[in-house]
C-alpha cells in the first residue's frame, strides 16, 4: 500500500511538469486553434538561457528564473510576429508544419549554442526528502507543485480580471467582432505566444533539475503534455493541470505495475490521446459551446 501511495505521490510531482507544459499548449490552442509542436523545444531553449544566466552571469536561481520568463515572453512575441504572422489565415496544417519547423530550428540552435553534453542544473528547491505520515515527500516535488499552482492562479486572474486577458479571450473567440471594438487581434495572438513561451520556460526550469539539461530533454515531456492537454480538454487551463497530474500518476503506475511498462510509457501516452479523442473529444473540462436554440 505504501509503495502504491509512494508511486502516486511521485506521479503527481512529474504530472505537475506535464501540466505546466500542457498549460503552454492550451494558451496557444485557445489563441489560434493550433497545436504548437515547438513548445517543448522553445522551453528547452529558455531553460538553457537560465542555465547561462546562472553559470556564466552567476545569478541565483530565482533572479535567473524571473529574467528567463521575461526573455521568453519577448521571444514568444517575436516568433509570432516574425514566423507565424505571415501564415495567419492559412490552413491549420500549414501552421502545424511551421511549428514543426520551429521545433527543428530550436532543437538545432540549442545544440549549436550549448552542445549535447548532459548538464546538471541547480534548481530552486533542494532535493531533500521529508517524512510525512509514513510517506516520503521530496521538497523539490512540493516546490514544483507550488509553482505550478501559483502559475495557474496567476493565469486565471489574468484572463478573468484584467482588460488584456478579457481582450485576448474575445480576440481568439470572435476576431471579427473584436476588431470592430478596436482590438488589435494580431497583437493578441502575439501576446498569447509570449505567455505560452513564458509558461513553457517555467516548465523547463522545473524539470531540468530532475532530469539533467540537454537539448532533447522536453521531447518525451511534450508528448505527455499533449496527452494531458487533450485529456483535460485542450481549451481548459484547469483541465491541463488536472490532465497533467492524472497522466503523471497513470505513467508512474504503468511504469511500476505493468511488466515492461517503463519502456512503454510513451506508447501509453499516445493511447491516452487516442482514447480521449475517440470517447470524449472535448476532454474532461472542455466546455460544449453554450448556445440558445
Amino acid at each position: 500500500m505504501t509503495a502504491f501511495a509512494q508511486q502516486v505521490i511521485s506521479g503527481i510531482a512529474t504530472g505537475c511538469i506535464y501540466a505546466s507544459l500542457a498549460l503552454a499548449l492550451v494558451l496557444i490552442y485557445r489563441a489560434m486553434d493550433l497545436a504548437n509542436f515547438a513548445q517543448g523545444e522553445m522551453a528547452t531553449f529558455s531553460t538553457f538561457i537560465s542555465y547561462s544566466l546562472i553559470e556564466y552571469w552567476h545569478l541565483d536561481f530565482w533572479p535567473a528564473f524571473v529574467i528567463t520568463i521575461v526573455l521568453s515572453f519577448a521571444l514568444g512575441v517575436a516568433i509570432e510576429r516574425v514566423v507565424i504572422r505571415p501564415f495567419e489565415g492559412k490552413p491549420v496544417l500549414t501552421l502545424l508544419i511551421v511549428t514543426l519547423g520551429l521545433f527543428t530550428v530550436f532543437n538545432g540552435l540549442t545544440g549549436l549554442i550549448w552542445g549535447y553534453v548532459f548538464k546538471t542544473y541547480r534548481g530552486g528547491f533542494p532535493s531533500v526528502p521529508v517524512q510525512f505520515g509514513g510517506l516520503y515527500l521530496n521538497v523539490q516535488d512540493i516546490g514544483v507543485l507550488g509553482v505550478v499552482l501559483v502559475m495557474l492562479l496567476l493565469l486565471y486572474l489574468f484572463f478573468s480580471r484584467t482588460k488584456a486577458g478579457l481582450a485576448m479571450r474575445a480576440a481568439s473567440l470572435y476576431p471579427d467582432s473584436s476588431r470592430l471594438l478596436g482590438v488589435r487581434v494580431g497583437w493578441m495572438l502575439a501576446l498569447g505566444w509570449g505567455l505560452a513561451a513564458s509558461v513553457g520556460a517555467v516548465s523547463g526550469m522545473l524539470v531540468a533539475p530532475i532530469i539533467y539539461l540537454d537539448p532533447n530533454m522536453m521531447q518525451s515531456i511534450l508528448l505527455f503534455a499533449f496527452a494531458a492537454a487533450v485529456l483535460g480538454g485542450i481549451e481548459s487551463p484547469v483541465g491541463a493541470v488536472v490532465g497533467g497530474v492524472t497522466i503523471g500518476v497513470l505513467m508512474a503506475l504503468v511504469g511500476t505495475y505493468i511488466p515492461g511498462g517503463q519502456d512503454l510509457r510513451l506508447a501509453f501516452g499516445l493511447i491516452v490521446i487516442v482514447v480521449v479523442l475517440l470517447v470524449r473529444p472535448a476532454g474532461l473540462f472542455g466546455r460544449a459551446a453554450v448556445r440558445r436554440v
Binding site: K163, S177, R179, L180, R184, A289, R291
Partner: protein, 236 residues
C-alpha cells in the same frame, strides 16, 4: 457638415464585386437609412466604412481619410459598427461584452457614466450582468450589441439590420431607443434596413441601393411619397 462621406467606393469579395462605386454623405447629428433588396450592397457599404472589406475609393470621417485604415483604428476614431448578426461575444458574459465595448478607452469615469446610460436604455442589463451572452434572446442580443457599441462612445453608429429576426414589438422598442440615442446623445446614425417603413420613420435622409450602386436618395419624406419606392420597398 458631413461627418461621413463616401466617394466612388468599389468593394469586392474575391472575384465578386459587391459595390460598383457608392457615394453618399451622412451629416453630423442625423439619422440616415440605407435601404435596398438582398444583395444590393448595404452590408458591404457598412463594412467598407469600418474597414472590414477590401475596397478602393475614398472614405472620409470627420476630416480624416480612413480609406486605408485598419478596422481597429477606425473603431478608435469613433465609429461603432454593430455588424450583421449582432457580433455578440457569445461565450462572454453581458458585462464582459460591455467591457469590450469600452476596450480602447482610458477614462474610467466616462466609461462608468456610459454604462449607466446603457442601463438607462436597457433596464434589464444590471440584473443580468453575469449571464452568458449567447443565452440571451435575439432582441436582447441586439440591445446588447447596441449597448456595446455605445460603450465605445462613438460619434457615428453603423447599425446593420437591427430588426432582423425580431418580433414587431421588439423592433418598435429598438427603433425608439435608436431615435433616443440620436436625439439625447447626439450620436449620428447610419442604419441598414430591409424593413424600409420603420427605417424611414426614424431617418431624416435615405439612400436606396440597387446592385451595388445608389439608385435613389433624398429625405425620408420624399422617399415615402415616391410611388416606385412605395411599391418596391414599403409594400403598399
Amino acid at each position: 457638415m458631413a461627418l461621413l462621406e463616401l466617394n466612388e467606393v468599389v468593394a469586392a469579395y474575391g472575384p465578386i464585386t459587391a459595390l460598383h462605386g457608392v457615394s453618399l454623405k451622412v451629416d453630423a447629428g442625423g439619422v440616415v437609412a440605407l435601404l435596398g433588396a438582398n444583395g444590393a450592397g448595404k452590408t458591404t457599404t457598412l463594412r467598407a466604412i469600418s474597414g472590414t472589406v477590401q475596397k478602393t475609393g475614398k472614405v472620409m470621417f470627420d476630416g480624416h481619410d480612413i480609406s486605408k485604415s485598419a478596422p481597429e483604428q477606425i473603431a478608435k476614431l469613433g465609429i461603432g459598427h454593430v455588424p450583421e448578426g449582432r457580433g455578440t461575444l457569445g461565450q462572454l458574459t453581458v458585462w464582459e461584452n460591455l467591457q469590450m465595448g469600452a476596450y480602447t478607452r482610458r477614462d474610467k469615469t466616462g466609461v462608468k457614466a456610459d454604462y449607466d446610460r446603457v442601463c438607462g436604455y436597457f433596464a434589464w442589463i444590471p440584473a443580468r450582468r453575469t449571464q452568458v451572452a449567447a443565452t440571451l434572446s435575439g432582441g436582447e442580443q441586439q440591445m446588447l450589441a447596441i449597448g456595446r457599441a455605445l460603450m465605445m462612445r462613438p460619434r457615428l453608429l453603423l447599425l446593420d439590420e437591427p430588426s432582423l429576426g425580431l418580433a414587431p414589438i421588439v423592433v418598435q422598442e429598438i427603433f425608439r431607443i435608436i431615435r433616443a440615442i440620436n436625439e439625447q446623445d447626439k450620436v449620428t446614425i447610419l442604419v441598414v434596413e430591409q424593413n424600409a417603413s420603420i427605417a424611414l420613420q426614424a431617418a431624416g435622409q435615405a439612400y436606396v441601393l440597387e446592385v451595388g450602386r445608389v439608385a435613389i436618395s433624398g429625405t425620408s419624406a420624399e422617399l415615402q411619397k415616391d410611388e416606385a419606392i412605395r411599391r418596391s420597398y414599403l409594400g403598399y
